[in-house]
Amino acid sequence: MSNKDEQASYDAVIAPSSRSVADSIMAIEKALSERPKLSIRFRITMAFTIAFLFSFAIAISSIVFISRLNVNQEHLDRVGALVFNIEQARRHEKNFFLYGAKTDIFDALASIQLATEAFHGKAQGIRPLVSEDIFTQVEAELKEYSALLTEISHAPAMSTAQEDGDKGLEARVRVAGHQVMTHATNLMNQAHLKVRAMAHMFMVAAIFIIILNLIVMIWVATEMARQILQPLGRFVGYAERIGAGDFRPVTPQRKYRDEFSNLAIAINSMVRELLEKHEELLQSRKMAAVGTLTSGIAHELNNPLNNISLTTETLLEGMEDYTREEALEMLRDIFVQVERASGTVKNLLDFTRKDQARFEPVDLGEVVESSFQLVENECSLNEVETQNLIDIGLPKARANFRNLQQVLLNMFLNAIHAMPQGGRIDVESHLEGDWLKMDIADTGSGIEKKNLERIFDPFFTTKEVGRGTGLGLSVSYGIIEKMGGRITVASEEGEGTTFSIFLPVWREEDLDHDAHEQ
């Protein structure tokens, strides 16, 4: 890996610049849009269509089944009529054998005729329900019984017949009548049982379908919930993460493109916007800080300019009045004052320069000293004494010099505003394991307890309208968080406030490690 590559990748890992984030957002957006489309709307529609078709099928089959039961009931009635008419015939037959009246035989024949009509008519509908044997049997016996009755009706008068040994015919009629009666009753009972069994089966099927339906519905509901709630939960996580200042884009998690993919694309473009706004905010905070420092800067520039002007004028007025040594000293004064003025300008330009924040080993003593220089005039004007107590041998911090300077400057200005009667700002350092802790203590008015937990919130300010934007500390917090550190605050009303900045110690492998990760 060339040195240049290493540098570039290093940038991307540590502080995602808006450009690299924008690139990765574009790539993710492409990935999100290119997956096969299977929208949630489509899936819900499918699920409901299937559920509807299922219910529809159940309803239709119920209707068919019930109508079939109805038809069978009608057929059963016909079979009932068949049995009734056979019974009637037998009653007439019995009367004939008891009393010998010919009319009874004709009545019996008429009943059998009705029975036969019933059997060949509607009662045929029962045929699929009962065994074929019994059906043909009944048919045959009905024919036989009818034939025997006809035979008797043609025979001579009963009285002679009885004596003529017609006992044989009578017995045959009786037997045939009994048989047809028995088998017809069997047929009817069989059909009854069959219909009852059908009704029972229908009931069992209905219960089974209810259970099946329940299972299917539960499955569809849980599956839908899983497919919608799970990504919703994920997106809540993303929103929280982004809200906390982690501007990594949302990456694809599913095989298909659905409404959540569109949401992911929208969130990513929001992240891009937020990132841009965040950088604008940082820059505007810097400019605002510079605005606060205007009087100090003017003073810092006008003093050396005045010195240069006075010294030059002195030399111009009467070079010959001074010895060579004196003249040289004046020229040296001018030179030093020019350095002083350009140093101020350079410091200011460095501070306001808009550049990508990279991590570097930062000497805390150095950054505190340069920040103190920026507020030097504010301090002297407000009679605030400053003291840099950072240990000389302290390891370097993994941070960004200019951003850290911005944070310190903001804290110093806050401290100065909290000490209108003057006071002091002390900066101390502690090494705590892998962390460097920097305490910035002032002797100002302190922060009220109720405000203490809100001071890092954006737009929270206790300054009067127009004096503070309420963004300084929240921006500071964001900057330190981006460096992997944190800020804590302790304050005693009337005693002063101590801000503690925790930063990770710079390790040699920080550079290697970041390069390897790529």
Partner: protein, 136 residues
């Protein structure tokens, strides 16, 4: 009769201002004392009489306006000229309200300073002429 030279006190925490103004003013016949610390200047002022005071505004310890008040309280006839690296209307008004003679913003020319001092001198001389009894 040759007039007694006026005594001028210069206070600025920028040593170069003092170093350049002192010879320039002495060349014009003034007695000049220079200070870069306001506390030392206050102590000296309490002991000695000065006709004109030139003071910077922004300084550690006592600032220019406080020194102006101090001077005017103990010696109302002393004229005070205020110089500053960053002039605003507020500071200018404030210094006039407290009795400052004039207000000069940095960077200024030695000639400008001389001209202001000449005007202050005229005022001091006039006052001395009006009440000669005060003269020692």
């Amino acid at each position: 009769m040759e007039q007694k030279p006026l005594r001028i006190l210069i206070l600025d925490d920028e040593p170069i201002v003092c170093k350049r103004l002192q010879p320039a003013l002495e060349k014009n016949g003034y007695e000049v004392e220079i200070f870069t610390s306001s506390m030392e200047a206050v102590q000296r002022f309490r002991k000695a009489q000065f006709d004109i005071v030139v003071t910077d505004l922004k300084m550690k310890e006592l600032d220019g306006l406080q020194f102006l008040t101090e001077v005017k309280d103990s010696s109302p006839n002393t004229e005070v000229i205020v110089i500053t690296g960053f002039a605003t209307m507020e500071t200018a008004k404030e210094s006039f309200r407290k009795g400052g003679f004039d207000f000069l913003s940095k960077p200024f020319k030695i000639g400008e300073m001389l001209e202001v001092i000449k005007r202050a001198e005229a005022k001091v001389r006039q006052r001395q002429a009006e009440s000669p009894s005060r003269e020692g």
